[in-house]
């Protein structure tokens, strides 16, 4: 026996086409992102998944991904908890800016480093910036000292993991079946913990959008025994897919 945990990464947002750093900017799903969410829901239904509780961030694109998926899976009644700790990595002063523009301003190498290094922080926001999370009412109950002004991936991990320890882990341990709809980097944080990935490995881990990622976890340690993406079973000729699942 193993516990199962399902992760869903939200799909395309309306800023994808504009090629902007998004982070905590609250942008909506694009029509394609909506389709990706619905597809994830259909896969859950086809594979007869049942859950006890759903989790998501406080950002619209993840919440709507969960909603569309649950609608397709006939599970809108599922209790949902939304928490800021599952938000995307905070991109500081880069948020809202076009990636090409930032390359011109800061140099391509620097921008690459911000995006792909584990410990490097983006330019930080000031508390007077309109993008400072302390000005957004959805974070009014969060201790201001915990609100980021910009995060390295390492910082994102540091605020996701307490949520894993205090909220998610005990529920899974008690046998609850959870589905989590979140973002590339907050899901990486969870994956790092479940798979014991090194810092280098987690940076290069790419979780596809719109495909539910199923973890089977050891009942004692809650470490990964196996993982797979729904939709890839019976996919036939795709002989290299097992390489990605290793």
């Amino acid at each position: 026996m193993a516990f199962k945990l399902v992760l869903i990464r939200h799909g395309q947002s309306v800023w994808n086409k504009l090629d902007r750093f998004t982070g905590w900017s609250d942008v909506d799903l694009s029509p394609q992102g909506v389709e990706e969410a619905k597809k994830a829901g259909r896969l859950l239904k086809q594979h007869s998944f049942v859950f006890d509780h759903a989790y998501t961030s406080v950002l619209t694109r993840a919440i709507k991904t969960l909603h569309f998926a649950l609608e397709e899976a006939d599970m809108t009644w599922l209790p949902v908890t939304k928490n800021w700790r599952l938000n995307e990595r905070h991109y500081g002063g880069l948020q809202g800016r076009n990636k090409e523009d930032t390359r011109e301003d800061f140099g391509a190498e620097e921008v690459h480093e911000w995006r792909r290094a584990f410990m490097t922080r983006p330019p930080m926001l000031s508390e007077y910036d309109s993008r400072y999370p302390g000005k957004d009412e959805r974070y009014r109950d969060v201790n201001p000292e915990e609100l980021p002004l910009g995060e390295a991936l390492a910082d994102t991990l540091d605020r996701v993991l307490p949520y894993w320890e205090e909220e998610l882990r005990p529920r899974i341990q008690a046998g609850e079946r959870l589905v989590i709809a979140a973002h590339g980097n907050s899901l990486r944080a969870l994956a790092k913990n479940l798979e014991d990935l090194s810092d280098d490995k987690v940076v290069s881990l790419e979780i596809p959008t719109g495909k539910p990622l199923v973890y089977e976890l050891d009942e004692q340690t809650l470490k990964m025994k196996k993982k797979y993406y729904l939709g890839e079973e019976n996919s036939g000729g795709n002989w290299f897919s097992f390489l990605f699942n290793k």
Binding site: D26, T60, H67
Partner: protein
């Protein structure tokens, strides 16, 4: 200041067919969705804000809530689901057209069931597959679940909900959006305004028309938001 806005879900695909719906999980009609986003925009224009949203366990109330919150940019607020906001359980009548029910049980009987306070519909058999006990969503609920209810029966659980969930939120001055069903909302309004049973039964709550209850001192003021 504590505030409540009630919204009865939009038209389901059965409302238009004159069927007894009750706890059957019938989705919203496609036409209902844009109506609900407009409700959200109206609430936004009228400067309404919410700290928490509460729905029943039925898809049409949940999706109605999501449509309203989405157009208010408030999808991030906490949501509570509570089965006690479900509509009155219509027992074996659920799924029947009003015409068929009248043919089987007599027009007068059906009218009495629909419009009286204390007359129960014919109950489901405990072993009926439609008993909510067999529905996965209710499996963690320890209290006994209905297999057919009069309004009087439904009032018991609606009042429990009021005491255990809603009243504590209002005491904390929360602004609450409740997306529910006509029966459960009428019973809540009865409780909050201190209406008589007759006054409650007379209430008409059209679909997708938000109603605000504001607490001014110890007085409750009710108005439609348009």
């Amino acid at each position: 200041m504590a505030q409540i806005v009630f919204i009865r879900h939009g038209e389901s695909i059965w409302n238009s067919e004159e069927r007894f719906t009750g706890w059957d999980d019938i989705p919203l009609s496609e036409e209902a969705r844009p109506v609900l986003s407009d409700v959200g925009l109206t609430l936004l224009e009228e400067l309404y804000k919410f700290d928490v949203a509460i729905t029943s366990y039925l898809d049409r109330s949940i999706v109605s809530c999501w449509e309203v919150l989405d157009s208010m940019n408030l999808l991030w607020i906490p949501e509570i689901r509570d089965w006690r906001l479900n509509p009155r359980h219509y027992g074996v009548l659920q799924g029947m057209t009003k015409e068929d029910a009248a043919a089987q049980y007599g027009q007068e009987m059906i009218e009495n069931i629909r419009h009286s306070f204390d007359i129960q519909p014919p109950l489901l058999n405990e072993n009926d597959e439609r008993n909510p006990r067999n529905d996965i969503r209710y499996q963690k609920i320890e209290r006994s679940l209905p297999i057919g209810e009069s309004m009087e029966d439904a009032e018991v659980r609606v009042l429990q909900f009021f005491d255990e969930v809603l009243a504590p939120l209002l005491k904390e001055d929360k602004r609450v959006l409740i997306s529910g069903h006509e029966d459960s909302l009428k019973l809540l309004i009865k409780r909050m305004e201190g209406l008589s049973t007759e006054e409650m039964l007379e209430l008409k709550l059209p679909p997708a028309k938000p109603i605000a209850l504001e607490l001014e001192g110890d007085k409750v003021v009710r108005k439609f938001i348009e």
